[in-house]
Amino acid sequence: MTYLWPASLAGRITLLLLGGLMLLHVGSMWVHERALRDTEQGARLERLSDHIAAARWAVAALPEADRDAAAHALSRPGLEIHWDRVAPLPTEAPPEDLIEAALRLGAGVRLGWDPKAEPGHRVLGALPAEGGGWIVFSAPWLAVGGRALDHGAIYSMVAMALGIALVSILVVRWITGPLRRLAGAADRIGRDPSPRPVPMEGPEEVRHAAAAFNAMQDRIARLLEDRTEALAAMSHDLRTPLSRLQLRVAFLPEGEERARLEADIAEMESMIARTLDFIREGRNAELVQPADLAAILQTLASDAADQGHDVAYEGPGRVVLPLRRSGAKRALSNLVDNALRHGRPPVRLRIRDEGAMLAVEVSDGGPGIAEADRVRAVAPFVQLDPARSGSGVGLGLAIAQRFAQASNGRLELGDASEGGLLVRLLLPRRDG
């Protein structure tokens, strides 16, 4: 089997085409052959009928003594004719199609059938002769003539063609299945961050493509890794000069200039912090442990409230679930920051029970995000509002999304009842 089954896609399709065409050819040959045979049998029955009719008329004018000889003279190979005063009794009920054929010979026909007789005398028939008595004949078989290419033949051809088409479709789908899986994997690149190797199966061409694809996926993953590495290194290195800058500013005389410098430094610091948060969220080894989600939200709300923002937590006093606590706090604090930065107060934090999942909802009273922009809003390093590109690096939602995915949860954007953006961070109640 393995020797006969070609390895290449071209070979498989060729084999399929050859096989299909041969089947169709053999099938149509058979139908044609049958039609030919039917026509021939029809013609033979007609000749038989002519001979018997001739015999019936031939004996009419003759005296009884000469009648048998005259009838017998009309015999020919495959047909023996006699004249007799009485018709022979049928020995056994003849088959259906034999009766149908016999009825074409003339009115008043009697028929006998003896499968055990000599081949030439199995069918025994009698027709009333002109002028009395019976023309008795024996023949090997009688068959109705074929209507050239009857309906049965057409049906069988169509059924065969459909069958072949169906089998071909199934086989082609089976052959190209690995190709479709490869296409699906290619489609996933860039959306699903973790490289998933494509199985090396199917015809040779597809196996080669899969191998090349897997190698490419590895290269892309390495490139992303390098990019992240470079970004991390830069953010790390920026911290020292920024610390020095912060210290230097502290020695300037108090005043508006110094306050502005400090605000700028604080912003740079938060950009670096976000970038590092984002990078860290991808490769975190923090342990999952039961933690109080309500306490985290209370802390975030009170910290923001202490800085004069209208942020409040509205929910139960204790909600325990397995969490990577620092990761969760980073993700949620980024959501609160995001709401304060891009939305408008009031910012509200809520916890909603959704069966197997818990939803943390962060809503604001700002303009929200249009449905069409929501996917882009979550992508890292994307700022939806170019006018505000100074404030942040566009990582807030991306950090939360990364955390959600790493925790088998998800991040959803929607419309808040307050009118602004509603961000829902869904987390499984149980680990794993």
Binding site: T240, D292, T299, V320
Partner: protein, 250 residues
Amino acid sequence: MSDTAERRLLDPEAHILIVEDDGEMRNLVARLLREAAFRVSTARDGREMWDVLDNPAGQPDLLLLDVMLPGASGLDLLRRLRERSRVPVLMLTARGEEMDRVLGLELGADDYVAKPFAPRELVARVRALLRRAAPADAQPDPRSRRLAFAGWVLDTARRELTSPEGVAVDLSGAEYDLLMAFLEHPQRVLSREQLLEVAKRRVAADPFDRTVDVQVSRLRRKIEPEADSPPLIKTVRGAGYVLVADVTRG
């Protein structure tokens, strides 16, 4: 100036040793602390640090130790330092290196500040550590870092609070400081003024505001979450607040 008054309460001139390899940074931090009226020595690496520590005349009251040092890392130095001294250590860690922070605290650092930091915060942390260092000598076991009360455990190394059910409960910085103040003085009434001193380090406190009450009620909501939770912190009318539970170390 309240700053001056506070300084008088501490050692006349607390001596701080800065161990930092970046020259600019070292000079700037030294200048910052000198301007805050501390006596400052500097060391570029572990070797210079040991030189200062081996000199009996110049024993520092506090070490400011950078984690990233050439040669022996700050964490190595900390481990070796803790074999011979309990001098308070404030670690300078890089932001984003949580492992450094956790390891540093477990190896015996007393606090940490992540770079980049706000200069005012660094000075505040240094003052807080020096203030806490005085009674620290009297502690029965200086290495005990777990404070237990009414089934709750506060791990001061990791700054983690765990409920009697084993659930990690998040605390804000101000809440942590308040809880520490209560745990260091169990069953003693702490006045609003005393607690305000603690809360002030984190929140821009207005003395006419009810900041302390707000912070205490937030802390209570976390350690007494349900209506039927046993009360741990009680209000003493006109006097302040008191932690009613026993506190054990270890």
